[in-house]
Symmetry: C2
Subunit: 193 residues, 2 copies
C-alpha cells in the first residue's frame, strides 16, 4: 500500500534510503470511512492530502446548495487553497468512498523541505505540473459547452461517471442535475439514429 506513494514519488525524484525512512517515520497514512468530512467550510487547516485508494470531493455550500468542484482519486494530490492563504476554508472536503490517503501538514513540510532539498524539488515539480494540468482543464471548460464537457469527461475519466452520483457530477460540469439528465438522454437519442 505504501508502495503506491513511493512508486508515485519515484516518477519525479529518486529517494535515498534515509529520505524514504524520513517519510515513513512521519506516519501519514490514514484510512477513512465513506462520508467522513475531512475539512469543513470556515475551519482553518494545514493539511494536504494524497489519495492512495478511494475518492474524495471538494464542495461549496452556496445559497444552501452543494456545489461540487473537484474529485480526487488514486494518485492525486490536494492542498486546499486555505492552507496556502492561511484563511478559513471556503469549502468542504469529504470522502465519497472508503478511502486510504496520506495527510501531511504544512509545518511538517517546512521541516522536511529544509532537511531534504530533494523533497522541495519534488514539491516544486509537482505543483508546477499540477498548475499546468489545471490550466488546461480550466481552458477546456471555458471553451466548451456542457454537452462537450460531459463527452470529454466520458473520454478522460470514465471511472468518475461510474463512481460519482449524478447530481455531484452535474455541478462538477457547471450545470443542474436536471440538465445533466436531459443532456444524457439527448446524447442517447443521437446515438440511436
Amino acid at each position: 500500500m505504501k508502495s503506491i506513494l513511493f512508486d508515485f514519488i519515484s516518477k519525479y525524484v529518486s529517494l535515498t534510503e534515509d529520505e524514504t525512512n524520513a517519510i515513513v517515520s512521519l506516519d501519514i497514512f490514514r484510512s477513512v470511512k465513506k462520508g467522513t468530512t475531512l475539512l469543513e467550510a470556515g475551519q482553518k487547516s494545514k493539511d494536504s492530502y494524497f489519495v492512495i485508494k478511494g475518492c474524495i470531493r471538494t464542495y461549496y455550500v452556496l445559497d444552501g446548495e452543494e456545489k461540487t468542484t473537484a474529485f480526487y482519486t488514486e494518485m492525486e494530490a490536494l492542498t486546499p487553497p486555505c492552507v496556502i492563504s492561511k484563511t478559513p476554508s471556503e469549502y468542504y472536503i469529504s470522502c465519497l468512498e472508503d478511502t486510504i490517503l496520506t495527510v501531511s501538514n504544512s509545518d511538517m513540510e517546512v521541516e522536511i523541505n529544509s532537511k531534504f532539498p530533494k523533497f522541495e524539488t519534488l514539491c516544486r515539480i509537482l505543483s508546477e505540473e499540477l498548475l499546468a494540468k489545471q490550466r488546461i482543464d480550466f481552458d477546456e471548460f471555458k471553451t466548451s459547452s456542457p454537452e462537450q464537457r460531459y463527452l470529454n469527461l466520458l473520454q478522460k475519466r470514465p471511472d468518475l461517471i461510474q463512481r460519482v452520483p449524478q447530481h455531484q457530477l452535474a455541478s462538477y460540469l457547471g450545470i443542474k442535475p436536471q440538465s445533466l439528465s436531459r443532456l444524457r438522454s439527448r446524447i442517447l437519442e443521437k446515438g440511436k439514429e
Copy 2:
C-alpha cells in the same frame, strides 16, 4: 524598472547580493511591441514570462475561432503548459499592449535552482500559490453564470474591462461577443429601475 521584479521576489524570499546579481546577469528583460506573438500553437518552447508592465494574452484557435482564456498583467507570471509537458503548444501568446517582461527558459532555471536553493524555494512557493489562486478562479467560474462572472470581473479586475477588447473578454467569460453585449445592456437596464 528591474526593481519591480525584485520588489515582487522580496515578498516571498530575501535575496543576498550574490543571488540578486546572478539574476541580473541572466539578462532576461525584454521590451515587446503591441501585437507581437510570443508563442505560436504547434511550437515548442522553454520560455516562461513575468509581466513588468503591459498585458499579454493566451488564446486557442478552435474551428478557426480565437478563444481567449487568460490575460497576464503587471506582476503576473506565466509558464505555458507546453514548457512543463515538453510538447508543442496548444495555444498562442501575444501582446495586447506594448509590454515589458522577463523571459526565462527552463534550462536557465534548472541551473540557477541547483546553484541557489533559495531560488527553488521561490519557485515552489510561487507555483503553490498560483495553483491555489487558479483553483479558486476555476471554482468561481464553475459555480456562477456568465452575468455573475462579468460582475465579478468588474469587481476584481476592473482594469481588464478597460484595456481588453470586448470580444476577447467574451471568450474569457466563456460566452460569445453578442451575448456579452446583450448581458451588459441587461445589467444597465436593471441599474436604471
